[in-house]
């Protein structure tokens, strides 16, 4: 039923040589195909040197390969130019850069920052702290009954005082994909800086910033078959012009005297110090990998698995799903609880069945507050998952129900 040739794909991922592993935690971080692992190892072995300012061939070619990944990312996102691509450590770092480098300078008391009730801490705590520093007010687009956003009050929330609208592209707890077009249009109308936390979205769906309507987008390589240690901040050139660098050091300066410094052009200005060079090569290989399979195909595959899982989980007694129970505007992330079994206990039992799920607050405590659960277990799908993984999940859940005597 799923659309991808998972047999071929799984053969690319060495971790699945362990046949008993049902890895359902890609929302935390994805596994890595050998194409990515080998590209990094090969570059580290034979092509490595520090980038920029190098006058010898090894360094020149390393610089070219590093910069070629910037071009690749720009093309991948539909950006107008590679200069709109800033390499950062990850989604978290990208959001913090925007909060410190734009928000701190521009927000005034009683300005508004709008987020949603389903943000990851990475797209919440930086805005809380920005609000505290500047006196701006943080407000929330609420969650509706259906585990989707309730946009009925959007006009009141996003008004002339609204300076920043930061919204997740896909909830890492519920799987919900918000109606970005509506929210971003409202932000544009009032001239607010609009930011999409693409950590969950970009690895799983085609995203084209030329039509997205956002001012900025962040994502991490490690959730998209790529390495840890690198992520991307894309922003419109006008917004990057407004952004002040917050990390200072080598490679981000134009001139330095004893007491003053001026900044290098964008995007280097935001990349102080030796960048994650080997990781950039890995990100390039990850994009190649994902593009070869096709982002739409991945999205469709996610959807099919989600449909299958919602169905199968619906038959498990005492199981409660937290999130939309259809596949409309949702990704392959399913949170659940089962009777009074604590999610950590669930996860331990599932683990004994080879089923890897995450349990906890998923870095979204205020959302779990609303869901009125201290924790959930979460299964999430990616291009290498199969319906067998879901069957194993369901069987393990039944075992958990029996061990705890709830079914």
């Amino acid at each position: 039923m799923p659309l991808l040739d998972t047999t071929a794909i799984r053969a690319d991922f060495p971790v699945f040589e362990d046949r008993g592993l049902h890895f359902l935690d890609s929302a935390a971080s994805s596994q890595k195909p050998r194409q990515v692992i080998e590209a990094m190892a090969d570059f580290a072995a034979h092509g490595y040197a520090n980038v920029n300012r190098g006058a010898y061939r090894l360094s020149v070619s390393a610089t070219e390969r590093y910069e070629a990944v910037r071009d690749k990312v720009a093309a991948f996102l539909g950006a107008g130019s590679s200069d709109e691509i800033v390499f950062v450590r990850g989604a978290t770092t990208g959001i913090n850069l925007l909060a410190h480098g734009w928000g701190s300078l521009r927000l005034r008391p009683d300005d508004r920052i709008i987020v949603t009730e389903m943000e990851h801490h990475a797209n919440l705590v930086p805005w809380q702290m920005l609000a505290r520093r500047t006196g701006a007010r943080l407000e929330f687009i609420p969650l509706g009954e259906d585990h989707r956003l309730d946009l009925s009050g959007l006009d009141r929330l996003i008004d002339e005082d609204t300076k920043i609208v930061a919204v997740t592209g896909m909830s890492n707890v519920l799987g919900t994909i918000p109606p970005l077009d509506v929210i971003l249009a409202a932000a544009r109308e009032v001239g607010a800086f609009s930011i999409v936390d693409g950590a969950q979205l970009v690895p799983h769906q085609p995203v084209d910033v030329s039509t997205l309507g956002a001012d900025a987008l962040v994502f991490s390589a490690h959730k998209m078959c790529g390495p840890t240690g690198i992520g991307v901040l894309w922003a419109r050139p006008e917004r990057l012009e407004e952004l002040e660098p917050i990390e200072y050091g080598g490679d981000m300066i134009s001139t330095v005297t004893r007491y003053t410094a001026t900044w290098a052009p964008i995007p280097q200005r935001f990349e102080a110090g030796t960048p994650p060079i080997i990781e950039a090569i890995g990100l390039g290989a990850a994009i190649d990998y994902v593009e070869k399979i096709g982002r739409q195909a991945i999205a469709d595959h996610d959807t099919e698995l989600t449909r299958y899982a919602l169905d199968a989980l619906g038959d498990v007694p005492e199981l409660r799903i937290h999130g939309p129970v259809d596949t409309e505007s949702r990704g392959g992330v399913i949170s659940f609880t089962m009777a009074d079994i604590h999610p950590h206990d669930l996860a331990t039992i599932l683990d004994q069945h080879g089923v890897a799920v995450r349990a906890g607050h998923h870095c979204a405590k205020p959302l779990l507050e609303i869901l009125e659960v201290p924790a959930t277990a979460r299964a999430s799908f990616y291009l290498y998952n199969t319906t067998e993984d879901i069957d194993a999940l369901v069987e393990a859940l039944r075992d958990a129900g029996e061990i705890f005597g709830v079914i």
Binding site: H344, P374, F404
Partner: protein
């Protein structure tokens, strides 16, 4: 799959029917513990007479291991002196880290003889990530008791 070894009935019983859960009116000592990795929470409240814990409350939220451990702990320490409690805690910790029952100082032929219900938690030993869950009430108790003096 030794899951039955982990989730023994007595654990599930303490999880579902925690003892001494009712907060004390005016505790002499109190501490809150959190396992930052999983979010489990335990609060320990003590009523002291001199060196002796005359009443105790343990409440919180979290997995069956942390909560049952807290419940069992409450039974094990009530009425005991600090010195007695320290001895129990030491036995409990060695049970969690020992190779097997005998090394842990338990008596395999007489289950429960040394640590009572707490011995049911020894299966946790095989699940290193859960040891912190079992230990949480105990580290919180330690904080509540404070340094001897």
């Amino acid at each position: 799959m030794a899951l039955e070894e982990l989730y023994r009935d007595v654990i599930l019983d303490h999880y579902r029917n925690p003892r001494h859960r009712q907060p004390l009116e005016a505790p002499d000592r109190r501490a809150e513990g959190v396992n930052p990795l999983c979010g489990d929470e335990v609060t320990v409240e003590l009523k002291m007479e001199g060196d002796r814990v005359v009443d105790v409350a343990v409440h919180g939220q979290g997995c069956s291991i942390s909560q049952s451990s807290g419940s069992m702990m409450s039974e094990a320490i009530k009425g005991k002196t600090r010195a007695e409690i320290e001895a129990i805690a030491a036995k409990f910790h060695s049970m969690m880290t020992a190779e097997d029952e005998t090394a842990a100082g338990l008596d395999p032929s007489r289950p429960g003889a040394v640590l009572g219900d707490l011995e049911a938690l020894q299966g946790v030993r095989r699940y290193p990530v859960r040891i912190k869950c079992a230990a949480l009430p105990w580290t919180t108790l330690e904080e509540a008791l404070g340094p001897a003096g």
